[in-house]
Amino acid sequence: MIHLASVLLGDDEEAEDVVQDIFLRVADSDIAPKNDSYLLTAVRNACLNRIRQMQLHDKVKGLMPIEDEADLQPIDKRLERLEDIGAYVDEQLEEPHRSIFHLHFDEDLTVSEIARRLGLNPNTAYKYLMQSIQQIRHHFEKH
């Protein structure tokens, strides 16, 4: 539950807070949760609510959805897709695209910082990152 909240919110403390709130609600309620997926759905909904309440600037800084997510897909399917994206990046992107992608999404570096680190022209770094994103997008649109 904490992992799912952390994936959605990008903040470990806030993730723990969301999960604790859910358990407090469960403790207050007379009805015991039916199963794990009930709890996971509660986590997802609570996270989406928090994201909805965030300021627009904070949303884009954390790469959060800026429009309401009507996420009806089962949570395990969503997590599977995230794993597929990760696997595709590692297996199908070539260098320096893969490194640029990891530096941007894993280490939160800006494109100028990536360009400096890899000794590239910022325009080239932008181009590679753009190509990677387009490649992944087109691949997952087909699948």
């Binding site: 604790q20 959805p65 995230l82 794993e83 994206i85 100028s112 932008y126 387009q134």
Partner: protein, 217 residues
Amino acid sequence: MTTTMETTNENIRQLLEMLDNPDAYTEQQIQDIVNRDEDTRETYRLMVEAKRSSRHRQNQKPVDVDAAWQRFNQKLQHKQYGFGWMKIAASFIGVLLVSGIAFAAIHIVRQHQKQETPQTEITENVTTSVTTLPADTLTKDTVTVQPIIYDNIPLEKMLPEIAAHYDVKVIFTNDEARQFRFRFVWNPQQGINQVISDLNQFERLTVTRKDSQIIVE
């Protein structure tokens, strides 16, 4: 075809530039950039997923269950403490409501008595009625309906005073309870059983009555 491709790339490039420094843009500009066309919107959605995928991969470390449990416990206790005070507040409101009703009843009865007095008598004896009737009675009545507030007074001081009113004795079987301090509103017009019930709203306190004794456990 090439022009469309160039425009798309330019839009996505603007999106990436904005994401590198969102503070330099107004909310309207951000909305305009993300929602410029379906391609840009889809690109942003994919980037949201890519970020989640990165967190999913990086955040596989096990959760420290003991530490998380401790923090949860603190939160739970804090919540229960808050809830306890809500119960106490509710009992105060109950006490005040009863006092209010009693006061209103006395007021109505008095009004009724006044109305029953013949008109002529009032006009003739204005000075007498003012000096003799209300002063004493009013003060006395008000004192009896006014609840007494014990604020932060040790239980061993407060309870014997209340018990004396009902002609019962207090026995502490739990010495710790002697020093309990809280805010309690006692309405002397209430029966002893009601007072004991109000005292039992406090979580740490168990008060029972046996014959002419109040026992604090």
